[in-house]
Amino acid sequence: MLTVSAVYAGSDMLAFILRRLVQSVIVMLTVALVAFALFRFVGDPIASMVGQETTLAERAEMREALGLNDPFVVQFAKFVTRAATGDFGISYRLQQPVMELILSRLPATLELALVSGVAAFVFGVGFGVYTALNRGNWLSGTIMTASLIGVSLPTFLIGVLLIWVFAVELQWLPSFGRGETVYIGNWWRTGLLTESGRASLILPAITLGLYQMTLIMRLVRAEMLEVLRTDYIKFARARGLSNRAVHFGHALKNTLVPVITITGLQLGSIIAFSIITETVFQWPGVGALFINSVRFVDVPVMAAYLMLIALVFVVINLIVDLLYYAVDPRLRVDRANTRH
């Protein structure tokens, strides 16, 4: 799509990207600020860091040494200046550099999110298109109803039930962890290349992807039904285009324009939602790291995690916007108009 029109839209696009980058920095700063503000409400890190014998005076000293007594602005400024250089300090809990900790856990989360995201998208679009094209037949009715079960039970329960059935009763799939992992390069540890790694991925990916799949599917179906009623689809039929061309060439593409926005955003929420899935399946990703950090009030890890999530979202948003821009030519004009 980005062929001829991209050339003369190029300069427009560059300005657009630049503007988004500036906005992204502001977003990141805001997230940092809000995150910092809320840490004061999560609890007292010292309580988790010391044994019961530690005296109140010693606790106060530690608080001072960690800079927890500094004014909010000072803490925030310190954090931002260090974070800008990639230094998020050291975890209160695991005493490792936060950046290293997060980088070592990130591949697990990304693999899980990506696999379940792709699965959710593929099945979601597939089922959505099928049920839209075959309205009224029993199979699409069944799919529509069954898919609702995915959004009618809490994620944690679905996870536990899957473990119960597939790990405990049937003993087909592992109940926790990532299985065997191997390194790709220096730090990317993958479970995708080993048998047990892939087996371990199945249940968490289903748990995480089920909800997203249902949402995408229903959205695709609704959008597709709308699109199928449009004049241009009627006109395409009237021109004798094959069903295949009409459904998949014309209708699907138009359906996907709004779906892309939602799906892109869903990818982000998959990463956020992985907190629950990772906890249930003891998946060693950043989500589990984060929730453990919340329990222990490991402020540096929490801060870094939030910044990471913010970054992921900003990037996803940018990509979604660019995709939108690429897919829907109407918006290109729109953008150009708003600029003047």
């Binding site: 977003v27 805001t30 997230v31 609702l148 009618s152 329960l157 926005t261 982000g268 729109d334």
Partner: protein
């Protein structure tokens, strides 16, 4: 139906009964069943104090020794029999489900309403006005989305802790929950409404309305809103179930309504701990209720969407 006696009211009733929506409803067995189930649950929840054989929210009425009574079997210590058994605190599971559904439904409806009103308003404004206001609102949405809803709930709970005096905390917990869930959900509505508004506002009829000097608010409500109600309805139906389930998830993470006054989600969280220990009824009955409720609300939503959209009929 013709056999309604004449007069104003019955006529209105007859017209309603005879309307397209009612007709399509009567001819969709799934919608009828879904409506029946959801109305049953909603009524049971609303009238819980009159229906429930026990008041599980009154701690003084509980006997701990009644705990873990299986359904329809006498308790080993007290000899009491409960239809659906009791939980770990000796609460009658049936009564607790009724009272719990009450809380869940309230949280769900209010949260969806909150998210919807907020999301649609901001989405319309952002899409229609465009420019810096749009940028600002969408950046706020980005920031909002960046925050996992779980964390947002923690923040709101934390802030609430700071502001609400201890004596009112328990009573306020539910409102805090509503705001937390609602706030984490509005962006979806806003994004969809904004997208549709941006496309719609360039259409001739809107331009025309603008030219003849119609008030922007009027244009938005009269022309654009109906066009976005389809996708909004999709989000809202899932949103209601989602809100009820989000409440359960928050309870899983230890934030939510107090466990002395459990919601459906809290019951499931509690019951989940007994999955391997044999007390299946503590998990099963609340889960079935939640499943039935969420499923039927969603199915109703599905049907309503199709029925409201004449082009899809």
């Amino acid at each position: 139906m013709a056999d309604f006696t004449p007069g104003n009211r019955p006529n209105a009733l007859a017209r309603a009964w005879d309307s397209d929506i009612a007709w399509s409803f009567r001819h969709s067995p799934l919608a009828v069943i879904a409506a029946f189930v959801s109305i049953l649950i909603i009524l049971a929840a609303v009238f819980a104090p009159w229906i429930a054989p026990h008041d599980p929210f009154n701690p003084a009425s509980l006997d701990l020794m009644d705990g873990f009574t299986p359904p329809m079997e006498p308790n080993a210590f007290t000899g009491n029999v409960y239809w659906l058994g009791t939980d770990n605190q000796g609460r009658d599971v049936f009564s607790t489900i009724l009272y719990g559904a009450r809380i869940s439904l309230f949280v769900g409806f209010m949260a969806v309403l909150f998210a919807m009103v907020l999301g649609i308003t901001l989405g319309l404004i952002a899409g229609y006005r465009g420019g810096w206001l749009d940028s600002l609102l969408m950046r706020v949405a980005d920031v909002q989305l960046t925050f996992p809803s779980i964390l947002l709930a923690l923040l709101i709970f934390g802030v609430a802790r700071g502001f609400i005096p201890p004596a009112y905390r328990e009573a306020m917990a539910i409102w805090v929950l509503i705001v937390a869930i609602g706030l984490s959900d509005w962006v979806q509505y806003a994004r969809v409404v904004r997208g549709a508004t941006m496309v719609e506002k360039n259409k001739e009829y809107v331009q025309a309305a603008r030219v003849i000097g119609a008030h922007p608010a009027k244009i938005l409500i009269r022309h654009i809103l109906p066009n976005v109600m389809g996708p909004v309805l999709v989000i809202a139906t899932i949103g209601l179930a989602l809100a009820i389930i989000a409440e359960a998830t928050l309870s899983f993470l230890g934030v939510g309504v107090p466990s002395t006054q459990p919601s459906l989600g809290t019951l499931i969280r509690i019951g989940q701990g007994f999955l391997f220990s044999g007390e299946w009824w503590i998990l099963l009955f609340p889960s079935i209720t939640l499943l039935a409720l969420a499923l039927s609300v969603n199915l109703l939503g599905d049907w309503l969407r199709d029925a409201l959209n004449p082009r899809l009929r």
